[in-house]
């Protein structure tokens, strides 16, 4: 197993390199000039055109934007080897300093969403399959289709309107009440809406996949054999059916992790959640390429690691799968 993990990590390095090249190229191709936007306010100062052009040149030189793209890319890469992600063009802080405090809030909201959507999705999906064509099955089908078809930004606004604006139950923004400071209850309260919205789509998919996987499995001969041996229905379902049904579900959960990251960009923006996603949106708007590169690098690493993790989990769920 350890050899397999090392091999997979080594294969990831050239993949990451290719990802950075693609992202950098896309940023370069995107229209927009960060310096022009940065100096926008100065146009109101009745400057001489020559002064303005000179100021743009100074800023371009200062931020290294006067260099051709390939040199900037290799400089960035060079810094990366020294574990330096560079400086933000707009905020002029190191990217590491900007990203570090954002990681925990994003992990918090994503982990909550993953746990919630996995638990609820699998439980409801399993019950749906066992009680096929019952009211619960129909209800879960409706809920899951709604979850899949309603975009999460719309759901976010809807939840803010209902739970925050109309009912006044939950806060609509931020990670904690600024007057209270950071408290466990405060963060938990603020996390309910964004985590719920973020998990909704994943939960819907989990319900559907668990239901269909369970339906497949409970029709298998070995389930009938287990029943005929006189095992209780609970043992049949949990020990024989559920474990086998989990293999495709785990694959789906792993694949949706990356989509969850994408979803968090929108959710963090709508709920003013101080995570990585919100930072990334700002960076894209500002064409702040060091921050965009860092964000995408993190996503790429998470994608690769989550795929590796799924492969490892397979071997625990299905003892037939061996990597060495």
């Amino acid at each position: 197993m350890s050899n397999y993990i090392i091999r997979r990590i080594l294969i990831s390095i050239p993949i990451l390199f290719i990802v950075t090249v693609i992202i950098f190229t896309l940023i370069e191709l995107a229209p927009g000039d960060p310096i022009a936007a940065m100096l926008m306010g100065d146009e109101q100062f009745q400057m001489q055109i020559e002064d303005y052009e000179q100021m743009m040149e100074i800023q371009r030189r200062r931020l290294g934007l006067d260099q051709p793209p390939y040199i900037r890319y290799f400089r960035w890469l060079q810094q990366l080897f020294r574990l330096n992600l560079g400086n933000s063009l707009i905020y002029e802080e190191t990217v590491l300093e900007m990203i570090a405090p954002r990681i925990l809030p994003t992990i918090l909201i994503m982990a909550t969403a993953i746990i919630f959507s996995t638990l609820i999705g699998i439980i409801i999906g399993s019950i749906s399959a066992v009680k096929q064509y019952s009211i619960l099955d129909y209800s879960s089908t409706v809920i899951s289709f709604l979850g899949i078809s309603v975009p999460n930004f719309f759901l976010a606004l809807l939840f803010i309107y209902i739970f925050s604006l109309r009912m006044g139950w939950l806060p609509s923004r931020g990670m904690y009440n600024i007057r209270e400071g950071i408290t466990v209850m405060g963060v938990a309260r603020h996390m309910i809406l964004p985590a719920l919205v973020l998990s909704w789509d994943m939960m819907a998919h989990n319900i559907r996949y668990t239901r269909s996987a369970m339906l497949d499995v409970i029709k298998q001969d070995y389930i009938n054999t287990a029943r005929s041996k006189g095992l209780s229905e609970r043992v049949v379902m949990f020990k024989h059916a559920f474990r086998n049904a989990m293999l495709p579900v785990v694959t789906i959960i792993g694949l949706r992790l990356q989509m969850l990251f994408g979803g968090s960009v929108i959710i963090e923006t709508v709920f003013s959640w101080p995570g990585l996603g919100r930072l990334a949106i700002e960076a894209v708007y500002n064409k702040d390429y060091p921050v965009i590169m860092a964000f995408n690098l993190i996503i790429a690493i998470i994608v690769l690691l989550s795929n590796l993790l799924i492969d490892i989990v397979y071997s625990f769920i299905d003892p037939r799968i061996k990597y060495d």
């Binding site: 229209p31 927009g32 000039d33 960060p34 022009a36 936007a37 940065m38 100096l39 926008m40 306010g41 100065d42 146009e43 109101q44 100062f45 009745q46 400057m47 001489q48 055109i49 002064d51 303005y52 100021m55 100074i58 200062r62 707009i90 905020y91 002029e92 802080e93 900007m98 405090p101 803010i160 309107y161 925050s164 604006l165 006044g168 139950w169 939950l170 806060p171 609509s172 923004r173 931020g174 990670m175 009440n177 600024i178 007057r179 209270e180 209850m185 405060g186 938990a188 309260r189 309910i192 709920f271 003013s272 101080p274 919100r278 930072l279 700002e282 894209v284 708007y285 500002n286 064409k287």
Partner: protein, 533 residues
């Protein structure tokens, strides 16, 4: 057993829900207000980049000599008072004698002298303090050129006459100097006793630029969390020499303008003051703990037109083709005058004989026929992707279709839109905000110098702008700006739409609050009058 466990779990869940959804209102001596943007480096006013979160909070910790009160009037802030010489070239600021930094050291004219030299150094420009030089209109300060060219170590026109008298001498009168000083919060003092022994390069590398710990204003900067909030705490050491702050803590919460989060936060009393959407006014007005007010702001909405591609007749035609009253009602309700020029205030600056471009599609067609505009060409409308911009773009597209013009809407990022505008690849680019109606000096900037995104040039307007800046005599200023206003009215270098308007919500527990003429520029100018009921 299973039943018991299930009941226990259900009870636990119910208890958690009640606990988590319980109201989080804390009644304390604090005030929270909305700020809409978190752009820019936030550690020091040297890095001011024109964002509301900086503009509303920096002057409370680094007090400039003068500032704007909520009504938009220029008032002494750190200075006790100031004088302008008869020829309007020498500005003398008298400073209080009992002011100290939060570390107990006296704040003197030497701090301002040091700060102004630092602001105008090349190092500031090279270190990312990019806006400071322009705020002071540096080229018009006596001795700046020699200082910039390395011929002099000091700027001869900037002097600390004594500990409590600070003076700036201009080459020629420019009323904009005082206006800029009041409007842009870069010029608050930097502590000379901490930074004065360093070279300018060392100053910008020092901890103070990133993590300042000493302040001269009525409040201390406690915390800034990008995209989240700014926290300021009232000083209790008596070092602020003027009216003492009555609110212990100020919280600036970053919530985008027009977002539902503002209303929710006001309703839950997490936010004490913020703007609300006009559609929410009737509902919010029924809440006992809020005062709702709709008011015209000092900003306006207009559309830059590429004057190199669209001539005067066509611009007039386009203005006639728009039912601007309907557009205003859709965007901001019925508050905010329809405007026909850039100079929309104060009252003394607005002539009463301006031509009214009323909605008249027939007239628009006639004027278009007289213009040189090729009506078969598709006009490019560049704008950023906000809800209001989308509405404005679609309204204009449909209105111009009625008079035979085709408009292509490009909704893009701000950076790309600006790039297209600067390269002249656009026909229309909408904008709004600012404080043009506070003084015609601000308004005229939009169509002269580099502020002129319409690519418009009019020799007469340039002369009037220069004349207007050179005098502070009210009668002279009125005559100059009336003429400029008429010129802008005839020339229509932009499609003028309407004066801005905003609906504000204020928690009734806050007393002494004056509704600002600009939410994002003058709200905190009255901070020292605020107190809790």
């Amino acid at each position: 057993m299973i039943k018991k466990t299930s009941i226990l779990l259900i009870l636990l869940m119910c208890f958690s829900v009640v606990l988590l959804t319980s109201s989080a209102i804390v009644a304390d001596n604090s005030f929270s207000f909305q700020i809409s943007s978190a752009w820019g480096r936030f550690s020091n006013p040297m890095y001011y980049q024109g964002t509301s979160s900086q503009g509303l909070t920096f002057p409370l910790a680094w007090p400039p000599l003068v500032w704007m009160n909520p009504a938009g009037d220029i008032v002494p802030w750190f200075a006790d008072d100031y004088e302008i010489s008869e020829d309007a070239t020498v500005y003398t600021f008298h400073l209080p004698k009992n002011a100290t930094w939060t570390d107990g050291v006296a704040v003197t004219a030497a701090d301002f002298d040091f700060t102004f030299h630092l602001m105008l150094s090349d190092t500031a420009l090279e270190e990312g303090a990019i806006h400071v030089r322009n705020v002071l209109i540096a080229n018009n300060i006596v001795g700046f050129a020699a200082f910039r060219d390395g011929e002099a170590e000091r700027i001869s026109g900037i002097n600390a006459i004594d500990d409590y008298t600070f003076q700036v001498e201009l080459i020629e009168p420019n009323y904009g100097f005082l206006l800029n000083l009041a409007r842009y919060p870069n010029a608050g003092p930097q502590p000379k006793h901490i930074l004065g022994e360093m070279t300018y390069e060392e100053v910008f590398q020092s901890y103070y630029m990133n993590d300042p710990d000493v302040f001269a204003g009525p409040y201390k900067f406690v915390e800034f969390e990008r995209g989240q909030h700014v926290i300021l705490e009232a000083r209790t050491d008596g070092g602020w020499p003027h009216q003492q702050p009555q609110i212990e803590r100020l919280y600036g919460l970053v919530i985008a303008d027009g977002a539902p989060g503002v209303e929710a936060a006001l309703e839950r009393e997490e936010l004490d003051f913020g703007s609300i959407r006009s559609s929410e006014v009737p509902r919010m007005s029924e809440l006992d703990h809020l005062i709702i007010e709709s008011a015209e702001t000092a900003g306006f909405s207009f559309i830059y037109v590429n004057t190199e591609k669209i001539d005067q007749k066509a611009r007039q035609a386009i203005t006639h083709a728009l039912n601007r009253e309907v557009l205003r009602n859709i965007v901001q309700g019925d508050t905010g005058r329809i405007i026909n020029t850039a100079i929309t205030g104060p009252d003394w600056a607005v002539p009463d004989d301006l031509y009214d471009y009323n909605y008249d599609p027939q007239k628009a067609r006639e004027l278009l026929a007289e213009s040189s505009l090729d009506t078969s060409r598709t006009l490019e409308f560049y704008t950023t992707s906000t809800e209001v911009n989308r509405i404005v773009a679609q309204f204009i597209q449909e209105s111009l279709r009625q008079v035979g013009l085709t408009v292509n809407i490009n909704m893009t990022t701000f950076q790309n839109a600006i790039e297209q505008v600067r390269q002249g690849n656009f026909d229309f680019f909408p904008t709004s905000g600012g404080v043009p109606s506070l003084d015609p000096h601000f308004a005229i900037d939009y169509f002269t110098g580099t502020g002129n995104l319409s690519r418009y040039y009019n020799e007469e307007l340039e002369v009037l702008a220069a004349q207007g800046a050179r005098t502070s005599v009210p009668e002279e200023r009125q005559a100059i700006y009336h003429e400029a206003s008429r010129l802008l009215n005839q020339e229509v270098p932009a499609i003028f739409l309407y004066q801005g308007a905003m609906n504000f919500g204020l928690n009734t527990r806050i007393q002494g609050f004056e509704f600002p003429i600009s939410l994002f520029e003058t709200t905190t100018g009255g901070a020292l009058n605020w107190y809790i009921k």
